[in-house]
């Protein structure tokens, strides 16, 4: 099996789930597959962390789920972003980019600057 997404920074899973839902509503499995595809196998999200994550996002009113039928005629719960979820994603993305830029600057610092 591929390595656990233990390298995932705490709290980023939520942001990633929200991001996968910006384009279209997805079910839990679809979210996992989409994350795997986009990250080119970098992240494997297992059910043990995916479902508590989904629940927490639902609890906080950032996503909402509803039961639908998939193209293969299975019932699955599709999640879509709520306006709050979209706002939260924007905010977190901005924060994340700011942090990454800061970290990048530190890591890229030359010997003299240190």
């Amino acid at each position: 099996m591929s390595p656990e997404p233990s390298g995932l920074v705490q709290g980023t899973l939520h942001m990633l789930i929200l991001k996968t839902l910006t384009l279209e509503p997805l079910h839990g499995y679809g979210i996992g597959v989409r994350l795997e595809q986009i990250s080119r196998g970098g992240f494997l999200v297992n059910a043990g962390s995916l479902f508590p994550g989904l629940r927490r996002l639902e609890r906080d009113g950032l996503i909402r789920g509803e039961w639908r039928v998939t193209e293969n005629n299975r019932r699955a719960k599709y999640y879509h972003l709520t306006p709050q979820g979209r706002a939260r994603l924007t905010r977190e993305t901005r924060q994340w980019e700011a942090q990454m830029a800061a970290i990048g600057r530190i890591l890229a610092a030359t010997k003299d600057a240190l």
């Binding site: 499995y29 043990g48 479902f51 609890r59 019932r75 719960k77």
Partner: protein, 888 residues
Amino acid sequence: MITIWRRLRHVLSWSRHDADLREEIEAHRALRQDAFERDGLAPGDAADASRRALGNVAHAVDAARDVWAIRTADSVSQDVRVALRGLRKSPGFALVAVGTLALGIGATTALFSIFNSLILRPLPVRDPGSLALLTNGSWSYPIWEQIRARESDLSDGAFAWAGQRFDLARTGQSDPVDGAYVSGRLFDVLGVTAIRGRMITPADDSAASPSGPVAVISHRLWRQRFSGDADIIGRQLTVQRVQFTVVGVMPPGFFGPDVGRRMDVMLPFAAEPLIRGRETRLNDKGSSWLQIMMRLKPNQEIEQTNAALRVAQPQIVEGATRQSVLTEPLTLAPAATGNSALRTRFETPLFAMVIAVGLVLLVACANIASLLLARALARRRDLSVRVALGSSRWRIARMLFIESLLVAAAGAALGLMFASWSSALLVRQLSTSQNTVSLDLALDWRVLAFTAALACLSAITAGVAPALGLTSIASGDVLKDAGRGIAGDRRFAVRSALVVAQIGVSLVLVVAAGLFLRTFASLNQLPLGFVPEPLLVVELNLQASGGRPEERGARVERLRDAAASVPGVRSASVSSTRQLTGGGWSSGMVAVGDGPMVRLRSVGRPSLWLNATMPDWFKTMGIPLRSGRDFEAGDRVGTGPVAIVNESFVRQYLPGEQPLGQHVRLGFDAQTRYEIVGVVGDAVYTTPREGMLATMYVPVAQRPPKTFWPTVLLTINAAPGQRAAVERDVAAALTRADPAVAFTFGTFDQIVAATVTQERLIAMLSAFFGALALLLAALGLYGVVAHAVRARQTEIGLRMALGATSSSIVRLVFQRVGLLIAGGLALGLAGSLWAARFVETLLFQLTPRDPLTFAGAAAVLVAVGILAAWMPARRASRLDPARVLREG
């Protein structure tokens, strides 16, 4: 906030969400299986692989559920189970703790429920908030007629009533119940409807009542006297020897507009002339005997109605009073809680007792706190293991707190039962033969809320100390040091502080008990001036039996002779006025000889008390004749008016003079000159508390028949040990002599006891509370000393092995106990000195800081404290050092 609401909603639909989650996870697995199949796996292998890929489903479900669930709800119920199990395992502790709290909470609730029904609870009628009482005092019927004529201008309805004692017997010995005359609209304005028949209407309250004389009776009277008969309506009821038709039964909770009195029979005012005949007070402008209430108009303030009342006042006064006596403005006061004569009398004592019992509860809580703390310390091993296994300190504190909450809840539940029993008992103690006190003590939300608050407060008071005492628990500290504590151990500090507080509060209560008991004792030891033991008092009601007022004198003499001829009666005589009621017949102004009329006492208090007696009354009462003569058969209307005075009279009005032959004139009857023919010893007239007051006696036979009181008192001096037999025979003799007379028996013992009802009750209660607090404090002290000795037994054993004698061990223990007691005494004395001023009005012949009482109370506490510490100290001194050291 929204989140909490969402979570709560989630918890409420728990199972649906769980099922939802399981289905979702199953869908997830199925989708993966599809993917595996698309990748070319066999369906069976794909299912297995998908299951493997899913990992631990149960864990996932749990984790996902935790996101939503309120974890505490789950673990609190677990704590409750643990606490219950713990209490079941130590039934002795549970019993003592719950019992102590039940007593404390029960006694407090009992007093509060009396306070509540007397002072706080609104009348059980429609919209009590808009009722207003015409203050101050009582009113004449003509004034009521004037107000009734303006009823609709002033208010949304007005009514009047006059509390009365009615005799329901057909003949002979009276059968008194409390009742009232009421105006026609009383029930209508109060919004009280009958549960059987109808209530009194304005038509009933007129001379030409179409239904004849009617009465309505209380639910209680209907149940008790008519055993709840369905055909009660239309039955005849004898009231004061007159027949009335029962037209209705009042609803169960309704007792009338007076709080503290129960009105079992209500008659319209129009029935009063039927009973009193020519002496009816309905036209009497001089006698005030009514209470008047109004219902304010909607949206009208009481001030507006008052203003309207004052505008109408001149006409009211002109139409209804003899002279312009009504000078003070008529004023309404809010009366949502009704009218009560008891309220002013009992407010202060009741409040003092609520405080006292609250202090007892505090001592009880301290004891329970101490017990809980000891329990928690004994369970340190268990608790340390819990900490080691990852239980948070907060969680352990919560567990202990839940334990005290459970104890408090059980105590409160038991206490409620105890309260409803004991408050009824207390209220019964307030009733005397003359005055029945009745309060509706049914539990209402106020009492329940009060008890619940007490329980919570107790739980907090008792539960905080153990939690604080546990701060020393550490996970590694799994105790190996049982019995190896030494002096100064911090663990005892909390319990010691509790014991000091207990002793202090107990001292306050014991001081209070001492003050009240001494007050009661000195009131009881006051000289009465007569000998009450052999006396029987028969109240004769000649008015209820009809007949012409002119004949009453002769009838009374016939009745007196009938009683005097009964075997066992040593003497019998009659007086007009009942003594020891706090009031009586009096004159505000007095003139001696030809001197001016003087007012000796301040305005409002009479200068001279009066009584009319028949010959031999002083002999019957046991009042000594000092000089001169008693009244004789020859002192009649037509002969010169004579009087007998007491020694206080001589001291006040004729100091150093020969009283016999002097003349006295009274303010209300300045023409008559009474010649003093005798001087008698002092006897209490109003109350023992007021002591001996100047009193003048006149012969009954010289009083004009018109002013003959409706009731007179026949006093009988019975031979020793024959009072009961004499009572029976006299009753028969009286009925034979005058079948129409109504009479009630009493003894002077009861009458004397009735003057100190309030003081007796306060003394009884405070003694009970003081003893209870003392017992609890002693238990607390015993517990802490015993525990300290047990915890230090290794140290003590060592000391003994090194040569300490058993007396030096006792001294060691007592050094510590002495410190605790001294601390408690200092605290208690300071508290008592501060609190003493609040009870000043309740004391008699004592200063509130009476040094003797304070010293006595302190001595009692020290004695009890030494007793409580003695047993553990003895035990310590008898330890076998070898065994202790070997086993410890």
